[in-house]
């Protein structure tokens, strides 16, 4: 507690963890490259410098606020320093801005403009490092790296993976996976959180738009799209709308304009997952085998478990994720029709997630030589497709999803937020379906952004202990507690990204807890207004289980090769 003087104004502070937070509270957008409130403080970029009354300069991100402290955020000296820092950063930075994947969204570019850098006094580096495109999800271009270390800290501190580190030293300093391998050859789980925190184009999402355009123009292809829940509450941000604003109607309209034949809802397949996974859970509860049951819908988590806890293989649900279930069902559904029409169905999924790209490419997701999912594009790639087409997104008339697979329950929609899968599965298992007011009470501990959430439900007279984690570091901590015997659960939901799919690696960035909450709110709002409350009440899902999947359940389960 205390009072500071910032730019000659008195400012109260309470528990802000550094001077930077206090400054930002006053509405001044002090520039930073290496500060994220959720990560440890690194203090490397020096953009956040301030000057005290004696002319000393220090980084505000690494200084505790003190009572009576007096600082300025704008002085001739600070301006000169900041410009110098930017020029130095730019001097060793690749200069192909126009053809950069994130041009217009790059923090380095934004700050260079903001501080009026019109010319770089230093020559360009002639040594170019190779681009790492070994992964299905992300591409690393070390020539654009400014060594802020954000990716290193996210991967280590939030995801507990540590796929990237600072290596070598001096002028050879680099960000690299172990043994200078490609990021696709190490323990990276494709979550893309390093992308959402990278201020430059040094880490980008693998761009699959060309593949998309190719099938769109091909008259022999039936292009069928599925839209994941979290896309509809974030895409609008790229067009000036508020986070959490639901834009599914406009997404359908734009995809139709672009030339997609059928637009369906991944939440439909989420309903299928709920049905199948609940059945699996009940079986395991009865036989007391392979408990706890871990969810399988997040491919980042699945890969993390494979890398670090291979012994958990049988505890992870054998259900395919909604994306893959959807692909398998759609391919089966159009099989005959494709023959009649002489067409080939292509499954395109629009996902908030970079790991979904890697998931779709896994070798086991193929039935008789037909891939479940052919192309995965992220929310950001869809935004660029819409922009490329010149569609004025915010003015589009809403269109509705196609039938039959455009029908989903509210339970399927909330899959996109942490706790959503648990809520959907438990709702399915409860005999007396709760209404929305009751849900808010029953699922109070399941919703929200706490690192590890726990709850106890009574299903058929048996007490069921449930845990929910998001962020793989939290998952790792939880598993360690289970292994040590400190905790016991029957059901565990894991989402790799903090907040769940709403803050996946393919979503607009930067993201913080507030934004995650806004996006999640959007999903709960859809749930509140949806007329199908529970997955078992989705009539089309029931029909698919009765007819198509009657003796083809293998289509929706994982069969590892």
């Amino acid at each position: 507690m205390g009072t500071m003087i910032i730019d000659n104004k008195k400012v109260e502070f309470s528990n802000e963890k550094n001077v930077l937070e206090v400054i930002r509270k006053t509405g001044i957008d002090l520039p930073t490259f290496c500060y994220y409130s959720e990560l440890s403080i690194y203090g490397a970029c020096r953009m956040c410098i301030v000057e005290d009354k004696w002319g000393n300069i220090f980084t505000s991100c690494s200084q505790l606020p003190k009572d009576g402290m007096s600082i300025s955020t704008q002085t001739p000296k600070l301006r000169r320093y900041r410009k110098n820092i930017l020029e130095l950063l730019l001097s060793s930075h690749d200069r192909d801005c126009t053809s950069c994947n994130i041009t217009g969204r790059c923090d380095l570019q934004k700050l260079a403009r903001r501080f009026g850098i019109e010319e770089i006094r230093f020559g360009e580096l002639d040594k170019k490092l190779p681009i790492d495109d070994s992964s299905h999800s992300i591409v690393r271009n070390p020539n654009k790296c400014i060594y802020c270390g954000d990716c290193v800290r996210v991967c280590e501190e939030v995801q507990g993976v540590g796929a990237l580190s600072f290596t070598h030293r001096g002028s050879d300093l680099r960000i690299s996976p172990a043994f200078n391998k490609g990021i696709g050859e190490v323990n990276c789980v494709d979550c893309g959180q390093c992308r959402t925190s990278c201020p430059t184009g040094a880490i980008t999402v693998k761009d699959d738009r060309e593949d998309f355009w190719e099938v769109i123009w091909d008259k022999n292809k039936r292009v069928v799209a599925q839209i994941a829940p979290a896309v509809r509450v974030a895409l609008g941000e790229r067009f000036g709308m508020e986070a959490g604003e639901v834009t599914i109607g406009k997404i359908v309209a734009s995809l139709k304009k672009v030339g997609v034949n059928e637009v369906y809802d991944t939440a439909f397949a989420a309903d299928m997952t709920v049905m199948e996974e609940s059945e699996e859970f009940v079986q395991r509860l009865t036989s007391e085998e392979n408990l706890p049951l871990f969810t399988s819908c997040c491919p980042g988590w699945v890969k993390f478990a494979e890398n670090r806890y291979p012994e958990l293989e049988n505890n992870i649900s054998s259900c395919k994720s909604p994306q893959q279930m959807f692909g398998a069902v759609v391919k089966e559904y159009y099989k005959e029709k494709d023959k009649e029409d002489g067409k080939e169905t292509v499954m395109v999924s629009v996902m908030p997630c970079t790991a979904k790209k890697a998931e779709a490419a896994r070798e086991e997701f193929e039935v008789d030589g037909v891939r479940d999912v052919d192309i995965v594009i992220t929310t950001n790639e869809l935004a660029r497709i819409i922009k490329e087409m010149g569609i004025v997104f915010d003015e589009l008339e809403d269109e509705s999803l196609d039938m039959p697979f455009g029908l989903a329950s509210g339970a399927g929609i909330i899959f996109g937020a942490t706790g959503g899968v648990t809520e959907a599965v438990v709702t399915r298992l409860l005999k007396d379906k709760p209404d929305h007011t009751e849900k808010q009470v029953i699922f109070k501990n399941v919703r929200g952004m706490d690192n590890i959430k726990e709850s106890i439900f009574t299903v058929d007279g048996r007490e069921v202990k449930v845990a929910i984690v998001h962020g793989l570091k939290n998952a790792d901590d939880l598993i360690k507690m289970i292994k040590s015997g400190e905790r016991y659960y029957d059901f565990i939901e894991v989402m790799a990204c903090p907040g769940g799919c709403v803050s996946g690696g393919g979503q607009p960035s930067p993201v913080d807890t507030e934004l995650r909450k806004e996006r999640a709110k959007g999903l709960y709002k859809i749930d509140r207004t949806s007329f199908i409350k529970s997955s078992d009440k989705n009539p089309i899902v029931s029909k698919i289980f009765e007819d198509m999947l009657k003796d083809k359940k293998h289509l929706i389960h994982v069969h590892k090769k």
Binding site: S165, P177, A178, V186
Partner: protein
């Protein structure tokens, strides 16, 4: 390939340091002493056992000059290229050695893993320039032909006896 011998060796080294994460540098030194370089399999094993990511271990191993990720020769010849040695013609010594052993800037160890040739900055013996250090022993006022003679001794297996 991670062999059971390697696991045993690395386990011993890790246990000597009580599996303490902050002793990672000493542990790497121990491994390097054993294998004369840091084998990738050994580092991955350390990563699993000590819960330190292998990228971080790689970062440490590439930060310090003295760690090597490539197998090194049985004998290590260091040619000083500090200012004094450079002026007194250390470069021709290096060129002659590399030629004799078919090595280059990127290929510093002979295929039979007998000899590694490294260029280093000041060895701190400027008054003796140009100096060459073979397995820790300093040879003063060297010339290309004197150095070649040393190499022949190594090849004939006589050098270790001299020491």
């Amino acid at each position: 390939m991670l062999t059971s011998e390697m696991i045993e060796t690395v386990d011993t080294i890790i246990n000597e340091h009580d599996n303490n994460q902050s002793s990672i540098i000493s542990i790497l030194q121990g491994i390097q002493r054993e294998y004369r370089y840091l084998p990738e399999e050994a580092l991955n094993y350390v990563s699993d056992r000590m819960d330190i990511s292998s990228s971080k271990i790689y970062g440490i191993a590439t930060f310090y000059e003295n760690f090597s990720l490539e197998p090194k020769g049985k004998h290590i010849i260091k040619i000083c290229d500090g200012t004094a040695c450079h002026i007194r013609k250390s470069q021709p010594i290096l060129d002659a050695l590399r030629k004799e052993l078919s090595l280059s800037e990127d290929r510093i160890t002979t295929d039979d893993l007998l000899i590694t040739v490294e260029m280093v900055s000041c060895l701190g013996a400027c008054s003796l320039a140009p100096v060459v250090n073979v397995d820790g022993v300093v040879y003063a006022k060297m010339t290309p032909s004197k150095t070649q003679a040393l190499v022949r001794k190594i090849k004939e297996g006589q050098l270790s006896e001299d020491n």
